[in-house]
């Protein structure tokens, strides 16, 4: 048996819509161990958020079909009973969303909202105990003057402070896994730096695992140990963060890394781009979904447009890539991308 905290296997999620079946996530498998930070990067519509919300079983609306398994500390979150899912939400796995304002209830004080999350899992806690825990959390997430601010409402806080409140709600039951879906996208850079620092220090404190969903490669480079790159609902590359930035192994990752502007003034000039636009998840192309935008697809041959490439280990790098190119080709091109 593995020692992983979370093990997702062959996850498939599709949504039945009037326009057709949206294949949001296809054949996604990965693991997360305790204390690890896993980054999931990809553009809008690549399936990263649906993958994450499936772990909490938040997609169980009538038009969603989910298959596969997501075993969290011994329990399959996709097949266990509703009561079991409820028992684990918050206590074992918690989520932080992008927009802190819509994640908070404007009618309740922040103290009440943090306390409510605690009481769900500690129904016997006395009022005083709850209050103490709330104050404790406010201090932990760095809210100044907690004794005064605990009774204020969300609109009285700034964006960064609101996100701290959301993090306090997520962590009040000391979950083993925190899923953060674009937690800093709505924030300014100086505040983003504060929130990332906060998440890392809280992680160090209780060995929590973090799944960090982001479109920002800079954020991934700074906080994650391992990375999944998603495209068209599939994982196209799985690598350690060092390997991904040193020598990426998938043409889409090459394009993404080339498209990032730099603060280094020696590196100005035309940005590399990925031509075209991401595919529709209703009419995914047969074969590799990146093939229509891939500058190497024509040199590889028709296999790109007929067969879906499987994730495979590339050479000695320890990276996994879903590409039909030969290992030698991938290593050769990948090593030049960042040079």
């Amino acid at each position: 048996m593995t020692s992983s905290l979370l093990s997702v296997t062959d996850l498939n999620v599709s949504f039945d819509t009037p326009d057709g079946v949206v294949r949001a996530v296809s054949d996604v498998s990965f693991t997360v161990s305790a204390g690890e930070t896993l980054g999931i990067v990809g553009e809008s519509g690549s399936g990263k958020s649906v993958t994450a919300s499936s772990i909490l079983r938040l997609n169980s609306s009538t038009n969603a079909t989910t298959t596969g398994s997501a075993v969290l500390a011994g329990t399959d979150m996709l097949t266990c009973s509703d009561a079991e899912v409820r028992a684990r939400r918050g206590s074992e796995v918690a989520m932080v969303f992008q927009d802190p304002l819509s994640a908070l209830n404007p009618y309740y004080t922040v103290g009440r909202q943090i306390g409510e999350a605690y009481q769900v899992h500690h129904p016997d806690a006395s009022k005083a105990e709850v209050r103490e825990r709330v104050m404790d959390m406010l201090t932990k997430v760095g809210i100044p003057h907690p004794e005064q601010r605990v009774d204020e409402y969300p609109h009285q806080f700034s964006g960064g402070m609101r996100q701290r409140i959301v993090i306090a709600i997520a962590l009040v039951n000391s979950p083993k896994l925190l899923i953060a879906d674009e937690p800093t996208t709505a924030l300014d850079v100086t505040v983003q730096a504060q929130i990332l620092d906060l998440m890392l220090s809280l992680q160090a404190e209780n060995k929590m695992a973090i799944i960090l969903i982001t479109h920002d490669l800079g954020v991934v480079a700074e906080v994650a140990q391992n990375v999944l790159v998603m495209y068209g609902g599939r994982i196209v590359e799985r690598a350690s963060v060092d390997a991904l930035f040193d020598a990426p192994t998938h043409p889409y990752a090459w394009g993404l890394l080339g498209a990032v502007g730099s603060l280094d003034h020696n590196k100005r000039g035309e940005l590399r781009t990925v031509i075209g636009t991401p595919p529709s998840l209703i009419t995914l192309p047969p074969g590799c979904s990146f093939a229509p935008r891939c500058e190497y697809a024509h040199s590889v041959g028709s296999v790109c447009t007929t067969t879906v490439p499987m994730l495979r280990n590339i050479g000695h790098l320890g990276s996994f890539s879903a590409c039909h190119m030969s290992d030698e080709q991938i290593i050769q091109i990948g090593s030049k991308v960042r040079a």
Partner: protein, 334 residues
């Protein structure tokens, strides 16, 4: 006389009165969104404006394009004062300066076809292109990389990146000399951002455009701007050639802002020596006395609270508003 500058703003001020009125003798309060900003855009170049939300960069964009009238100050377009232009005069100046907006969804009318959207400025200006309106729109669509066959399609049939191309085509159809782009790529995915930035660079080269490029993303501005102005709470704190400001920031705020940007390279673990600003941006209704950055600045002294620093030359062609500018060039990144 033709000025060297396509666009100049002199001591621009824009206050928005808050809802609280002067009843019961209480003084009316103002949001001081832009509070004494002077800038100049050299012909054929790009002036980048960066800053966090609420620093007044979008208000500044709306003031210099005369979408709103400044409370104070002067705007010169090709050396001509347009500060209080109205009616015919205002309409005429709009042919020279056009805007590209942030959100490619809300800035295009969903009930108008692409052809109608791109040709709308011609109707407003009552202009009849020699080659015919339809032909002119086709040319614009080709110029920005859209398929002219999509003339009759509607915005919802296009992706975010393509919609931004429609917005750019619309801004170019009057043949303006200046484009003010307010966060033109921040709603787009990274790979699409790069496409739009490259397109804008190409258009600048072929059409000789001058850009005012506003963004919160420092690496995007660095990529496209020749000069950069850093704003904080309605004021410019540092301004100068982009490579100078980025490679050796002189104002503490510029330095903190640059060091907060996550670097897409795990080997540069600069999280350790990052400058961590504490707290939030103060309210623009009651900005701090003296230097507005002093409440978050690690170098602030009493002088900063009492005396407001003015924008002074700070070496290598830059201007900086700080009593204690950083002297040693700090190289970012390497």
């Amino acid at each position: 006389m033709i000025s060297d500058f396509a666009l100049e703003g002199i001591d621009l001020v824009k206050y928005f009165p808050t809802g609280r009125s002067g009843i019961l003798g209480r003084a009316r309060e103002n949001v001081r969104a832009v509070d004494g900003v002077s800038l100049s855009l050299r012909r054929g170049t790009t002036l980048g404006i960066v800053g966090e939300s609420g620093c007044g960069k979008s208000t500044l964009a709306r003031v210099v394009t005369r979408l709103i009238e400044p409370t104070h100050g002067q705007i010169l377009l090709d050396g001509e004062d347009i500060t209080h232009a109205s009616g015919k005069e205002l309409r005429r100046m709009r042919t020279k300066i056009q805007m590209v907006f942030q959100d490619p969804y809300s800035s295009l009318n969903p009930r108008h076809s692409v052809g109608q959207i791109i040709s709308a400025p011609l109707q407003v200006q009552k202009m009849k292109p020699v080659q015919g309106e339809r032909q002119r729109v086709h040319e614009m669509m080709e110029l920005v990389g859209l398929n002219p066959e999509h003339y009759n399609r509607y915005p919802h049939e296009f992706s975010g990146g393509q919609r931004q191309r429609i917005g750019i085509a619309r801004s170019l159809i009057l043949n303006p000399s200046i484009i003010v782009a307010d966060e033109p790529v921040s709603a787009l995915d990274v790979s699409i951002q790069a496409q739009i930035l490259n397109l804008m660079a190409k258009l600048q080269e072929t059409l000789g455009l001058s850009y005012v490029f506003i963004a919160h993303d420092l690496s995007v501005v660095h990529h496209i701007a020749d000069e950069v102005a850093v704003m904080y709470l309605g004021k410019i704190v540092e301004m100068g050639p982009s490579n100078v400001v980025y490679s050796s920031p002189s104002h503490p705020y510029t330095k903190a802002l640059l060091s907060a940007v996550p670097v897409a390279d795990p080997k540069r673990h600069h999280r350790q020596d990052r400058i961590r600003l504490t707290g939030d941006v103060p309210s623009p209704v009651n900005p701090p006395s003296g230097c507005r950055f002093r409440t978050r600045c690690w170098l602030a002294t009493e002088k900063c609270a009492n005396e407001e620093p003015s924008l002074n030359p700070g070496g290598n062609g830059r201007l900086v508003a700080c009593h204690y500018p950083l002297e040693t060039p700090v190289s970012i990144g390497s």
